[in-house]
């Protein structure tokens, strides 16, 4: 291909990419813009950046909310892996739950979460789990477990049966089969699912909105402390948003291609 065409294509590609991330870039600009300039010179890009908003955010309750999100996401990963891998193994190898179980999981993935959140609110109120981080750890399984089971099933399906047969012939018992053979083989899938579950739990808004009240707020809900009734703290809100999107973006660089596989329930390789 002619070299100048390559340069023209590069410019077009740059413009397209810029279009997609321009909202985030703009919020990044707001987050370092002095408060008075945010209102007096809306469009100006020539100002001396300030870290005032970030230091305000990081000295507020927001830090607690970030930690809450982190705890919920990490415990949710552990729970999801613990229950999804055996389920996927059963579906793939033991031929149970192939139809109804998998269909049920797909339905969970399809249903708007608001449908479940109201009865879940009622249940958790009755058993006293409202405004408790544990409630979020449990509830986030509703979207992370279907993803994980579908994903792992595809992965385990791809392992040749001979692997297990050979292991059994060599006198391997079921526990060693898991620890020494299956887990190492599906390790890439475990990493991907951990990251995807983390991102989903970290970003979640609706369940946190309904199930948390004060002390167990996550950062997505907690950002609301900067949206007052009469006055919105634009700079702080922007800084909180930027802090919140950094972990998923960093993780994105680890999974890149696997993202597509994850987003389509493991049905499509990137």
């Amino acid at each position: 291909m002619a070299d100048h065409m390559k340069i023209i294509y590069t410019i077009i590609a740059l413009l397209i990419s810029f279009l997609f991330i321009s909202p985030i870039l703009w919020i990044g600009v707001i987050s370092v813009k002095p408060t008075d300039l945010i209102f007096s010179e809306v469009i100006s890009l020539t100002f001396f950046p300030t870290i005032e908003h970030y230091s305000n955010v990081l000295s507020s309750q927001f830090v607690t909310y970030l930690l809450n999100s982190l705890l919920v996401a990490l415990f949710n990963i552990a729970l999801v892996l613990l229950i999804s891998i055996p389920a996927a193994y059963a579906v793939s190898r033991l031929r149970v739950g192939r139809k109804n179980f998998m269909f049920w999981l797909l339905t969970l993935r399809m249903t708007p979460p608001i449908v479940f959140s109201i009865p879940i609110f009622v249940i958790f109120q009755l058993i006293g789990l409202l405004d408790n981080l544990l409630s979020l750890v449990l509830v986030y399984s509703i979207f992370n477990v279907p993803l994980a089971v579908w994903f792992f099933t595809t992965f385990i399906n791809a392992i040749p049966h001979e692997v297990e047969e050979a292991a059994f012939i060599d006198g391997c018992d079921i526990y060693n089969l898991w620890l020494r053979i299956l887990i190492p083989i599906i390790m890439p899938a475990i990493v991907s699912i951990s990251i995807l579950s983390f991102i989903a739990a970290w970003n979640e808004y609706l369940f946190a909105l309904i199930l948390t009240i004060t002390k167990s707020r996550t950062w997505t809900i907690g950002s609301q402390i900067f949206v007052g009734t009469y006055r919105v703290q634009w700079g702080e809100l922007a800084a909180a948003g930027i802090i919140g999107v950094i972990p998923p973006i960093l993780l994105l660089f680890i999974i890149k291609e696997r993202l597509i596989q994850g987003l389509t329930l493991g049905r499509l390789r990137g």
Partner: protein
């Protein structure tokens, strides 16, 4: 003996059932029960039987039909636009240019950031006085309060969805594009196919299964949209952006648990019907690229 073997296999499913039943199956039963009651927050412990009144109120009032229309319009427009733009972008990425892998990752960013942040971002950008979008419009002499007018607010939500989720369709379709065997394309070229014919009669049929996947997953997720619409407009102005999800939340927030549950049940039935439709497609092997 055989029965025992079946039971032992089911044990592997048990942990997931223990977690998922209380947060999905029991809620499902609760929704059915509540939808048949006159139940509000104030008479929660002392509800009266309503029969099918909640459902009758729903279908005889304007709110349900309005939300069905808003959700229907929203889903149709965004999925259509996103798939077309995603396809075009995927075809463009087939060309050779510099920094492709970096730009590829950058385009993925909107897909993985929090929907809540998308909400806060556009809350700032669309703000009447100090938001950059309103500011630019006012320079262009367009006097409009984006979040204050029905059509403009809904259009804004749709444009935001397209901006955020086109990359998703692009990623999926591009992944499919890479699996089109180059030998097929070469053969078509040798047979003298023009660029248009190559696309229309060779690539498009090969891509159709993958495009269907993109349509399926985008339909599901567009149907579920709640976070940023709720943050930016709260369903307003009036009921202009009240999607079905937001209407359920509005009923719940105003304490009307019965109506909220009745609507939840209707939405759940729609979701199950859609799942039924898609399940057969997802388990059929013909489109799998692996």
């Amino acid at each position: 003996m055989r029965k025992w073997a079946i039971n032992r296999n089911n044990l592997f499913l048990l942990p997931s059932l223990i977690i998922l039943i209380p947060i999905s199956l029991i809620p499902f039963l609760i929704i059915i029960y509540f939808s048949l009651l006159n139940i509000y927050t104030f008479n929660f412990y002392n509800p009266s039987w309503a029969g099918l009144n909640n459902f009758i109120n729903l279908v005889s009032g304007p709110d349900f039909w309005n939300s069905l229309f808003v959700s229907g319009l929203y889903v149709t427009v965004v999925v259509g636009a996103e798939v077309i733009f995603g396809l075009l972008l995927a075809l463009f990425f087939n060309y050779n240019f510099y920094g492709k892998s970096v730009l590829f990752v950058i385009i993925m960013i909107p897909v993985i950031i929090s929907q809540a942040v998308v909400g806060y971002m556009f809350l700032i950008m669309l703000s009447d006085m100090f938001g950059i979008v309103s500011y630019i419009l006012s320079i262009l002499n367009v006097k409009i309060s984006i979040l204050g007018e029905r059509a403009a607010a809904l259009a804004a939500m749709i444009l935001i969805d397209i901006l955020i989720w086109t990359p998703y369709c692009f990623l999926v379709i591009y992944a499919g594009l890479k699996t089109v065997p180059s030998a097929v394309l070469e053969a078509a070229k040798i047979d003298g196919a023009t660029k248009y014919k190559l696309f229309r009669y060779v690539m498009l049929p090969l891509l159709l299964p993958i495009i269907t996947v993109a349509v399926i997953f985008r339909t599901i997720d567009a149907f579920k949209t709640f976070d940023y619409v709720y943050i930016i407009t709260g369903g307003g102005p009036g009921t202009a952006t009240t999607t079905l999800s937001i209407l359920i939340y509005k009923y719940f927030d105003s304490g009307n648990i019965g109506m909220s549950s009745a609507l939840s049940l209707l939405v759940l039935i729609m979701a199950i019907l859609l799942s039924r439709l898609y399940y057969s497609f997802l388990v059929s092997r013909r489109w799998q690229t692996t």
